[in-house]
Symmetry: C2
Subunit: 338 residues, 2 copies
Amino acid sequence: MKQKRMYPRVLRRGRDALIGVLLAIAAMSPIAQAADSLPSWTDGASKARIVSFVQGVTDPTGKTYVPPAERIAVFDNDGTLWTEQPMYFQLAFIFDRVHALAPQHPEWKTTEPFKSVLAGDMAGVAAAGEHGLLELMAATHAGMTSEEFARIVADWLATARHPRFKRPYDELTFAPMRELLDYLRANGFKTYIVSGGGLEFVRVFAERVYGVPPEQVIGSSIKTKYEVRDGKPVIARLPEIEFIDDKAGKPVGIQKFIGRRPILAFGNSDGDFEMLEYSTSGPGPRLGLLVHHDDGEREYAYDRKSSVGRLERGLDEAAQRGWVVVSVKSDWRTVYSD
Amino acid sequence: MKQKRMYPRVLRRGRDALIGVLLAIAAMSPIAQAADSLPSWTDGASKARIVSFVQGVTDPTGKTYVPPAERIAVFDNDGTLWTEQPMYFQLAFIFDRVHALAPQHPEWKTTEPFKSVLAGDMAGVAAAGEHGLLELMAATHAGMTSEEFARIVADWLATARHPRFKRPYDELTFAPMRELLDYLRANGFKTYIVSGGGLEFVRVFAERVYGVPPEQVIGSSIKTKYEVRDGKPVIARLPEIEFIDDKAGKPVGIQKFIGRRPILAFGNSDGDFEMLEYSTSGPGPRLGLLVHHDDGEREYAYDRKSSVGRLERGLDEAAQRGWVVVSVKSDWRTVYSD
């Protein structure tokens, strides 16, 4: 047994005071804490902005303090939390479903847009336009119950592989963003996904992959109907668009589902512009961020001219609006987890 | 100073064991805990059913355990959390607003349904039917931003008084129900309001009065639009019904906003039937409850023949479905707080 060393009282007091000061400094130092919470972020300006914002809104003695109930953070999904190239993953799901369902629909061999999908003719699919996309959506997303649809999506995620990375789609989430979600929640934030993708599609993996429960997912939706089938109540999915959660639809969805203006918004494309504009325009501290996909080696490089996840107005106006442009290449040490 | 009494070691151990057993019994006894949490409920069968359900789903060693994330409880508002007689409080708001806005609309003196409202002619208002109600809604609920509407409702709540009880409407919430909301949250439940009333109407007071934050309020809604007005982004309220959160609309709203089937549902009228049916039909433990307004002295007595909050099918089928019918007269010691 080690003998307890005795300090004179005055020294003990001095030592305690010193420890207190050190603890206070540690608590005040944003970078010290961030080093633990955001290891996949490089120690650049983007990380510093995030950490200083979080420190500011959580310090109860500061002027920028925000009560926990108002710490709402909203995240786009495609291109912000996971990859969206070479096509939106939900579009890959639609194409795979058309192939899977084709044997039950011999007429698809000669009917657009199904014919083009089955032939792998992307130009043909694009030529079918919005009407064609609605038909694909109706054929693959409607006609079943919500629970059945969730099972179909879960089965697809378990088996489908990304064409370039040969990994399940839900492994292609961004490690720095998952860390950020955790970091915000550890600091009393409520984290929401506000996706242009389908509400009931994203909910299937959001809790497992991002720690975001179904009730904190907002997305595009089709109409549904309550029915009692053979004595069992179900929610039936109907082949009719209800809400497009993109562009000016995002603030509308946020107000409808959350009912308060977020204080942090993170997107990556011009489809997220209005969400950032709305979130960063209220009183008090606000933070808007955009992922800039500039790393073709580790992920994809695209912005102004991309048909998927086009980012133009956001790049033009980020500086004047005080939004942080996060570079995949230089701000992220890691893109995906191994 | 009292001198510390010393027990021989074996006695101390016996005493500690005894205390441990007593604590364990206290923790296991539902009624003992409920006595603290639900003082406005009489010690009858209804309270016992609630407490035994909550004990069952929170006991991690039991067969009926439910993880916290799935402990979703949904409550109707009108007639379940607050009084709904002699008319829905939101209807009183509409009538008061028509009076307040009348000077700016001289044409209302000769145009229905406004003419009847201004004359206090309820039969005339009723005669204007659904179309008349839509016109009243458009005139009082649309044409402003979400933030402006919230301020109008808050101002009304601060000044309007209930015709019989002469109290602000938001003081006419049921004390036993507020206790139940607290009790459920203390046991890891997430409590939601699922109201036929307006989403942005109920949100104005739900957090302050019930402890339910805006993002846990589901309700009927009108369409909205995102706009930037003089550089300020706002949500504008449009004069068009978007969603009626009543009857079969309630499960639809629940699935859209929450994305999981609740395990507890509490209503009071046949407008809540489908919500209870849906919530109590999944696997695992489920609890459905209905407030039965049978106390004309302390509140109001009405059920099968009421035009407001009619309860008929619920009363007929409660027993066979295992739903608890809560009597205001005999289950509630207190109705309102003083």
